[in-house]
Symmetry: C2
Subunit: 170 residues, 2 copies
């Protein structure tokens, strides 16, 4: 498996944990009798994106990471979610999209230059782009999502963040 695809499957796996955190958030809101929508606009600093946007962006890094590195146009996922349930569905739509990719879609990814309007005249090799840009940005927004929920008392632990890992018998 290419470095690119191996890393993309890893962030998709972590993304698949986020709907479970949101379910725990809904259960916590119910237990404490507060409107779960409060969590969607919660943030850790006034000039930081709230939970709703953090999940949308985490999802977009997974979607666009796959699309850009496979050199395919990404589907539009409008940022229209207004509930935790809709946000879970957004993540599901992203995961269904990236499940259509195969290792061979990334055959040329590692040596192709990925361009950005932010860096005119320059580009990042796919192999660098996935490790230095896609993966860190994804985990940044996934962890911030988790941190906002923890800060608001949602009972989550590191195991919820990491999820299942692939093990072999010794």
């Amino acid at each position: 498996m290419s470095i690119t695809y191996a890393n993309l499957t890893a962030i998709a796996k972590t993304l698949s944990n986020i709907p479970k955190w949101l379910e725990k958030a809904e259960a916590y809101a119910k237990e404490k009798s507060f409107d779960p929508a409060v969590l969607l606009t919660s943030r850790l600093a006034p000039d930081q994106f709230p939970l709703l946007r953090q999940v949308q962006i985490a999802s977009d890094w997974v979607k666009n990471g796959h699309a850009r590195l496979a050199d395919k146009p990404p589907p539009a996922h409008p940022d229209s979610e207004q509930t935790l349930e809709e946000l879970r569905a957004r993540v599901g739509t992203c995961l269904a999209y990236v499940a259509t990719f195969r290792s061979e879609d990334f055959g040329a990814a590692e040596t192709r230059l990925i361009t950005s309007t932010r860096t005119p005249g320059k580009g990042a090799l796919g192999a660098d782009y996935v490790r230095e840009t896609v993966v860190p940005n994804f985990y940044f927004h996934a962890t911030t999502t988790y941190a906002i929920l923890r800060h608001n008392g949602v009972p989550l632990g590191k195991r919820d963040f990491i999820g299942e890992v692939t093990l072999q018998a010794l």
Copy 2:
């Protein structure tokens, strides 16, 4: 470069950004006339590790990730830091250690089973361990470090988190 070493160099690169965040935190404390040590014990939830511990753990994932995957005993880095300056030095010690590794140290890493007392009778292939355990855990603690600082008003932005990326001329 192997998947393993490529991913380890990426997290070491992000770790090298953390001392710069701590410097900005010290400057902010000076500007606002508060004791910078307050930040070391700051946390986002009462049952979550404070900043000091987050940086130590982020550093340890980089150190132990390299050591375990290269099958070498990691050096002891005692958790004795009490100031932001000492914490920056701790990160520096870790970075100096991991700079001694070369791609060939990880030649057998991808197919060797990495064991843990938490999963008796089972182990993770190195290639899975680095992507599913080392990288997510590292970014979890690096992002939580960043989030604690942002929550306390330290002027940091996404660019401080990501740092420099490797670019090529088009």
